[in-house]
């Protein structure tokens, strides 16, 4: 079966969090990621999509792309919003930091679950968070 290489899903309401998770579970499983890696990836999706929904104050979008390297399979996920931005990125990824009175475990946790994470944010313009995970190709 041919695997589609890229795609996207909007993040506009709470229900989109589940839609994003289901979509990526499908993509990552078909691409050949192991069960635990699929769970890690989908959990990261849940955290980042929810952050857009809860914190950004704007709509957003999740884009995904499969990556291939000899013997390896990868997935890259980009979460983009046009909301208020993150004033201090270093602080935001600290475990326990939150402006919402919740646990503040999202960003620090995603960093542990994924192999790569990059955050770009500008106040009043928006936030783009890119993460990637690599696995052994089947």
């Amino acid at each position: 079966m041919a695997i589609e290489e890229t795609g996207e899903n909007p993040i506009k309401n709470e229900g989109d969090i589940v839609t994003c998770r289901k979509l990526i579970r499908n993509v990552a499983t078909t691409a050949g990621f192991g069960m635990t890696d699929v769970t890690r990836i989908v959990t990261a999706v849940s955290e980042l999509a929810r952050n857009v929904y809860v914190h950004a104050g704007s709509d957003g979008v999740m884009r995904w792309q499969l990556l291939y390297q000899p013997g390896k399979i990868g997935i890259q996920l980009v979460f983009e919003d046009y909301g208020k931005g993150i004033p201090d990125i270093d602080q935001a990824i600290e475990a326990g930091f939150t402006t919402a009175g919740t646990m503040g475990m999202g960003l620090s946790g995603v960093k542990r679950l994924m192999d790569e994470m990059h955050i770009q944010s500008e106040l009043g313009i928006g936030t783009t968070i890119t993460v990637a995970k690599w696995g052994r190709a089947k």
Binding site: T36, Q69, P70, G71, K72, D115, G135, R136
Partner: protein, 306 residues
């Protein structure tokens, strides 16, 4: 997990660099194209001669077992021979060369055979270059050098993909050895045991954690013994990995007992300030098993007749 590229297999970008290194330029492409009409003319005869030669040696003959394979390979050779002088050396060409290397490795064709086949090829082609009335000496030299360069590029790719394929085998075997070095076994109804031999790095812990948790669920075991007698040293990272494992096991509804805590490990743990106070630890696997059976309300009695 290792995210770096295979150190042997180039990517297309590196290949362009390799061309520059060999000084393979547009001029070479032009020279190769000059050879193309002759490639078309002689392809069939060259391929026939080549296979006749290969069939004379048991070493190469065994790869040409049946008529069907032979014909398929002859066609592929002919196509390759045309490609070599087609003047198109882009990504498609590059990919096809890599595939050939991997295919050769897969059927077990030794690189020795691959290399000497090229040499035989050259013996067939050179007279057609230097004995060619259409080529003056300068052109003949240019054509010869260009051919030499493109063949060198091809060989480099094929040999690299050979090595890459072997590299893959080695890393798969390493993983299997790792798996064998941390077996997870059910030692009692409701108790699994996992002796760890060697250091726990993060890649190995992830893998170990997965297998331990799966075994716990499969055997429905409320107690898991992790024996660290075979762990030579412990550092903060290893200890953190152990603590992660213990926490994950707890989320499943099972409990870890750490056994085989040797004096040097106990000393290091305390000196590093690692707090294992919420975790049951025992000096030996046997004493750990006693605790496990106790927890499961299982009483083991001495045989009164013994």
């Amino acid at each position: 997990m290792n995210h770096s590229h295979s150190k042997y297999l180039s990517n297309f970008k590196n290949w362009a660099e390799q061309k520059r290194f060999l000084d393979f330029t547009e001029k070479d492409v032009e020279f190769l194209k000059k050879l193309h009409p002759f490639a078309i003319e002689y392809a069939d005869s060259f391929v026939d001669q080549l296979y006749e030669h290969l069939l004379q040696f048991p070493d190469t003959k065994r790869f040409l077992s049946d008529e069907k394979t032979l014909n398929r390979l002859k066609l592929a050779q002919k196509a390759y021979f045309m490609d070599l002088t087609s003047g198109e050396y882009g990504e498609e060409y590059y990919q096809s060369r890599i595939k050939v290397g991997i295919a050769h490795q897969r059927i077990g064709l030794p690189p020795r055979v691959y290399m000497s086949t090229y040499c035989y090829y050259m013996q067939l082609i050179i007279p057609k270059i230097y004995g060619n009335p259409m080529f003056d000496v300068e052109t003949a030299n240019g054509v010869f050098l260009a051919l030499h360069k493109i063949i060198n590029l091809d060989q480099e790719l094929a040999i690299s993909s050979y090595i890459h394929a072997i590299d893959e085998v080695i890393s798969r075997q390493t993983e299997e050895i790792l798996e064998m070095s941390t077996p997870v076994i059910q030692i009692w109804d409701g108790v699994v045991a996992a002796p760890i031999i060697g250091m726990l790095d993060s890649g190995r812990t992830q893998q170990f954690m997965e297998r331990l948790l799966e075994a716990i669920v499969e055997t429905n075991s409320p107690v898991a013994l992790i024996d660290i007698t075979g762990v030579p040293q412990i550092d903060t990272a290893t200890a953190q990995h152990l603590i992660d494992t213990i926490n994950a096991v707890k989320l499943l509804g099972s409990q870890v007992i750490i056994t085989g805590v040797r004096p040097v490990i106990a000393q290091t743990l305390v000196h590093l300030g690692i707090d294992l106070s919420g975790i049951i630890t025992r000096p030996t696997m046997a004493s750990g098993l006693k605790v496990a059976l106790d927890k499961l309300n299982i009483k083991v009695m001495d045989n009164p007749r013994a």
